[in-house]
Amino acid sequence: MASEQSPSLITEQIKKLIGAEGAPVSVEVEKSTIRKVLAALQDTDPFWQELGAARIGTEINVPPAYFMSIAPKGPDVKIEIPLSRNVAGGEEWQFFSPIRLKIGQTISAKRRLSDIQEKQGKSGPMVLITFEDRFQSESGQVLALRRTTSIRL
């Protein structure tokens, strides 16, 4: 969206980047990672206590925030925008059942650049960059979906 005085910050070259995907990443579900997420959240809910006795292959309840510990790889592209400040805009998550995972199972995650939009903020133009992440099991079952938007100011 261009203002009357200046052209859009989103060039045709940038628009062509939409749809680019990052290389998939795979992680193993580890007790230590789940513990770190719970500890950071100070989440002492006894519902997660079965984590303590779980062994490789044990299926346990897992907090949905666990998926935030998996960092999908962004596409290998440069979004050249002359706005240097970067803040988190927000997220949307989808889950499909109570989350139960096996210790040691593999989860793959893939990221796609899904949208780039320019908007006018109170103090000037801003660009919203949205990624879509897909988390799935080895069998291809989709475990979670995330849309995450960052804002360049």
Binding site: F47, A65, M68, A71, E91, P98
Partner: protein, 146 residues
Amino acid sequence: MNVKQQLYWEDIAIGQELPALVKKPTTKTIVMWAGATDAYGEMHYDKDIALKNGFQGVILHGEMLGAYLMQLFAERIGARGYISSISYRHGKPAYPNQAFSCRAKATRKFEKDDKAFVVFDTWVEDEAGEKASAGSAAICLPKMSR
């Protein structure tokens, strides 16, 4: 609250608020979250850079506020309930060393594909009573009759 107590779809009325979840993140919390999620943005640990970018100090990870909202629901809905969807936008910077109140208010109930859902407005409120993050969530709950 005993989390293993199951919440049923019939238990929630439109307009009802879930008991709030109060969180008090510190700068140590920021470090722990960064380590747990591999999120090392400088504005979360470097005060000079945070100030240079117009913040009053280091800021909390927005995603962690979203995790607080997830915790709010996960603690209250029981083993057979789950978050079907949750979305939130970060409206203002959230600074550590204050209490945040995570809240949810039911706005709609519906059934689809043999499942029952309650939709909540949900938000994280700082000590000034302003919303640091806000959005909505659709929670799938079992029905008593099933």
